[in-house]
């Protein structure tokens, strides 16, 4: 079943065609890799899918039925999409724990006025912070975390939204081996829960190990797609990375 689809998606920055008539279909429950050289439009694609950039054309289709010619940030959570950022964006002046708790807030604003967090919320927050090994840092401000810890906290924040689709932008880049292990475990667990992952990654070893399916982008266009073994042996990919 296709959970997410783009049709002729377009985004230009001045004369740069960052995403150029891109049409992809993403299957539910798979780990999908997006690879391609720097500047090929991978981050821009995620920004369009999460409503952070206005689309210049085309459409995004969620769950086969919901069609968008424009996504807005406030719709992203509602339609079950969570994301991380290539340049991590946390709630910097809040503690690690509060970065998670603020998401577990009930959606009803008025009831949140007087309500404190319940045991249930705290338990859930502890669970997810244990998973990324940040529970011991729970009272530190996010701004004071190390680079890798910041990346992990951002992933934890995506997890607690309980989304169906996870857009991960270079989540492994710059991480130490033990942290990479944590992230790849989380991605595998998401797959076991039948969630859908879209992972931008440069490490072909990881892509081969984790991904069920790969999209290769170049200059905003889809160059080739398919199973990792098939795609990674293909000459198109080698050419895109190394030049002809």
């Amino acid at each position: 079943m296709t959970i997410l689809e783009t049709r002729n998606l377009i985004k230009r920055f001045g004369g740069v065609h960052a995403v150029d008539h891109l049409s992809i279909e993403v299957e539910k429950g798979r780990i999908n890799g997006i690879i391609g050289p720097n500047g090929s439009g991978k981050t821009t694609l995620i920004n369009l899918l999460s409503g952070m950039l206005a689309m210049d054309g085309g459409e995004i289709i969620i769950d086969d039925v919901q069609k968008f010619t424009q996504m807005f940030p406030h719709q992203v959570f509602f339609y079950g999409i969570a994301r991380t950022f290539q340049n991590v964006r946390l709630f910097e002046q809040m503690t690690v724990l509060d970065n998670i708790l603020v998401i577990l807030t009930k959606r009803n604003v008025f009831s949140s006025l007087f309500e404190k967090h319940t045991e249930y919320h705290l338990k859930k927050a502890e669970e997810v912070l244990q998973r990324v090994d940040l529970w011991k840092k729970k009272n530190q401000l996010a701004i004071n975390l190390s680079y890798g810890q910041r990346k992990l906290l951002e992933i934890a924040r995506a997890l607690v939204t309980d989304a169906e689709i996870y857009l991960l932008d270079e989540s492994f880049t710059g991480l130490f081996p033990e942290m990479r292990k944590i992230v790849s475990n989380i991605i595998c667990e998401l797959k076991q829960e039948n969630k859908t992952v879209i992972l931008i990654e440069h490490d072909m070893g990881l892509i081969r190990e984790l991904c069920d399916y790969i999209f290769v982008m170049n200059e905003g266009k889809l160059l080739v797609e398919g199973k990792p073994n098939y795609v990674l042996e293909g000459k198109e990919v080698i050419e895109a990375y190394l030049g002809k």
């Binding site: 940030p73 406030h74 994301r83 709630f91 708790l101 603020v102 604003v109 949140s112 309500e115």
Partner: protein, 288 residues
Amino acid sequence: MEIFSQLIFNSIIAGAVYALIALGFNLIYGATKFLNLAHGVMTAIGGYTVFYFTKTLDWNIYLAVIIGILFAGLIGFSLDKFVYFPLRKRKASNMVLLVASFGAFTAIQAIIAILFNSRFQTLSQNTSAQKSFEIFGGVITQTQLIILASAALIMTGLVLLLHKTRFGKAIKAISDDEEVAKIVGINTNKIIGYVFFIGSAIAGFAGILVGFDTGIEPTMGLDLLFKGVIASIVGGIGNLYGGVLGAFLLGFVENFGIWKISGDWKDAIAFALLIVFLIFRPRGIMNK
């Protein structure tokens, strides 16, 4: 000694009023990142609502105060809903929002001047009979004690709201990164609406307190806005504690500045403080 104690009392009382205005101003700035100039006129809305209910309709004074606070909050909330929110939705710049808020300020002030006369008048029932106390040679009135107590109460309440409740955490998240807050499912527009209500209600209350202490006039909002903005900038814009600190610093500088000279210099001294900070520490005391 007597004048010294008196100046300290005056400084603290002025500081408390400025602090209330700076609190709401900074709360709104933190969430929206624009200077909401209409914040000043909320003081006049509060003051004149109480004036109308007590002097014209002869209602119970406590009831009138509550209505005044709620009404100021409601006007602030409506400004957001019908002016700022539509502008934000169209991705208007903060400069556009600032100009819009100044327009709202002027319009509301004009409406107040039309509905009531422009004379300076007090909210107090009977000024001469007001109780006052002598402490260390300085005199402090009952109204002023109420100002201090209620300002302390509101500051404490706001701190608890921000630190202890889920609502407070959402406000902080919005202040840090509104776009990300939206993406993770925080209803930012609704929360910003409540922030306007709370901030404006506190400003309305400050206006009511000023009305009982000295008096009200339709243009009172401008002077109080300036003081609130100066306190915020001096303390660190968007920083609630900074605003309170800046407010008391302003109160002290202003009142001790006129120790040996005419009280007419008060506003000039306040602006001198602002300029000193804008030159030497534009980010304010508390902001890093």
